[in-house]
Symmetry: C2
Subunit: 159 residues, 2 copies
Amino acid sequence: MKIEFKQIGVIHTPFIRLEGMPVQPAGAGGVSGTVEIFGEYREGLKDLDGFSHVILLYYFHRSQGFDLSIIPFMDTEPHGLFATRAPRRPNQIGMSVVQLDMVEDAILHVRNVDVLDGTPLFDIKPYFPEFEGVTGIRYGWLEKSGKTARETKADDRFK
Amino acid sequence: MKIEFKQIGVIHTPFIRLEGMPVQPAGAGGVSGTVEIFGEYREGLKDLDGFSHVILLYYFHRSQGFDLSIIPFMDTEPHGLFATRAPRRPNQIGMSVVQLDMVEDAILHVRNVDVLDGTPLFDIKPYFPEFEGVTGIRYGWLEKSGKTARETKADDRFK
């Protein structure tokens, strides 16, 4: 089964190249960007400005193909692809939680954006973590990794 | 631009009808399900069992079309679609954080699943909330809603 999705907007950021880009929103602290929604979807933004953070679902448009075992930016050992957030995946869907500063017409002003300039947008969802009902979190291979998301930058390994 | 995605697995849950289903993982506490990954992607699951929670991205396969202004399960007032997690969206991509109990071969045993039985899977990502760098959360219209995600069940409004 193949399913078709369409672009509903575009994400504008200062990152025009993958190299040196933060690998998680935590590493993109203070980096501002905008999310431009195409006019036909504008009505759907009503009341979004009450949320401090939103989830962006977008297309890893610069990634092609995938390997099921990879060495992620945050480690030096190979891991299963689904245990990482690497951009080269069977379905190139990216997800980031960003801070929402303002909604102006069909433009969201956001902070902590860790995506490439020109990234096609699929969806926006409100962020409300307490609804996930999550307690007692373990995070596998990342616990042993000496690096932190805040310090780690991308390189060209997933081009 | 249209982008094609493919199913990489299927989610099995006790919920065969939308009516009465929990509307968020918090309301599906204790509900067990399985995520079956197609054999060709199995190698990508390595090391996933180190994570206590995973993010599932899936297809709202029983939803068709969308309205940009809707009355969500959690309220009695209309809101912009992107300020809700309603299943009828321009791109029918659903997202849930579920508890991962065990990985057995190509099957994930999960808890707190709030999706319909037979839901097609697009992606699995590890969950590590502290990397989002999120502080000072406001959650808009949901703060005024008297209902909680734990109590709210779905009805047929988004069929």
